[in-house]
Symmetry: C2
Subunit: 302 residues, 2 copies
Amino acid sequence: MTVPASAPFFSRVVIVGVGLIGGSLALALKRAGAVGTVVGVGRSQASLERALKLGVIDEAATLEDAAKGASMIVLCAPVAQTFALLHALEPHLEPATIITDAGSTKSDVIMAAKTALGDKAAQFVPAHPIAGRELHGVEAALDDLYVGKKVVLCPLQENTRIDVAGVRAMWETAGAQCSVMSAVQHDAVFAAVSHLPHLLSYALVAQVANAEDAALKLDFAGGGFRDFTRIAASSPEMWRDICVGNREAMLSELSTYQAMLAHLKTLIENSNGEGLERIFQRASQARQQWGAQRAPAVNAEP
Amino acid sequence: MTVPASAPFFSRVVIVGVGLIGGSLALALKRAGAVGTVVGVGRSQASLERALKLGVIDEAATLEDAAKGASMIVLCAPVAQTFALLHALEPHLEPATIITDAGSTKSDVIMAAKTALGDKAAQFVPAHPIAGRELHGVEAALDDLYVGKKVVLCPLQENTRIDVAGVRAMWETAGAQCSVMSAVQHDAVFAAVSHLPHLLSYALVAQVANAEDAALKLDFAGGGFRDFTRIAASSPEMWRDICVGNREAMLSELSTYQAMLAHLKTLIENSNGEGLERIFQRASQARQQWGAQRAPAVNAEP
């Protein structure tokens, strides 16, 4: 883990949504000695109690109480809740508090933040940690989840340099590497390499499961199907929110993909093996190259 | 490994194409003591010499010489070579010899066999072992590759019961479980759960690799992309042949998939989260169920 030369210290960090993502951040900051008190906010009392018992948070509080004297408030709830959470937070937000989030989409989150916070949106620094596990909930939280992982920051023009640096320092303290992108660029990149693959994987499993001979097909599905469809076991609610939240970029990537499929279909219709092989060859080389370059990072990934 | 009560014995087995699939079959039959002599036939002299050195085959021969006195001839070459191989074999085929294959598509292989062999097509029992590894070539051959794996037999009406039983006994001796399907059913099942996923995975990687910001996208691609695109690193030649060979079933599955994508696109366009969630939910449940049922077999798979 790379701790920045001058390690930051946050006296009071509020985690809104104490699951895998928020819980792992809390544990990482605690491990680094970079936080005074971690306050957990959440809809489920049982989940907050488990977080207290596990030592992931030091206190559980309402959003209003948690905001008092907070150095940093981190939204780790599903992105569709961003507006409601920030709207409830706004009257209690103190001028010195930085707010940030961990959502998979950014343009919609920023729109929600600007609407809910008005001028106080300057205190909101949008972020997206690229990390996950197949397990969910606070029990799955790990203090090293973010070590070697990427975090994308999409700062607003209104953000102060100091606030952006504070969010960056927090994630670097957790072991992550931060990159800066525009929200539009972020949403296009993740539509292509994450959101569209999830949609395509869900679509294939739905097609097979809906077939008259579904049982037979599933019985003969092998390793290729297993890998291709692993992400189709993901949370339907989360991916529903992402598809709707990242609507424009998703539609753009999906249209490009539809054109690619139409082209491949024509090649198959014409038994144009040479044309098919050219595309497969390009994809196969690109994938092998990517795999070779990513091998160490990939092995470190959960 | 389940060896049938009355283990069969094949005095002379000819493997045409001594790579992973053919080599593993040879090793399995040797391990079970179910074969006298294994004869290897192949285009590459170097590869045959390696197979001899590794003890995978006992002799290397031309197709013509190999056919003399053969109990069983197993085609393990790419499916597009089926016609040429059987056409060359036909004049030398002895009446007591059984021929079978290991191709991933069946209707096109059967068409090639009937055209090349004429009346002698009765001696050809089409088969498809569902097994593979990421490694290729005779060096990757394993004597237990087929243990617990499925083999689909698509017998012709012309086949004798004894010949079909012989092919079944051979695969069971290698540790596999045999199922019988019509060629049409086989091709539809594998178009859905194997061939289409490969096409979709190739298409996504080609799309990302062709993007102007390909480097940025690949840099931020994570675990979902990794799993979804693992099969896009597969052999372009092999999948070209399968797409063309299984043309009708591929086009049918692809059309269904295009309709599914068009429907999902409309849901996203209308920000219809409920509609999206319903489809994701169905897919997620089906995938989780499949994963739970297949866990032991999946772990055993390479």
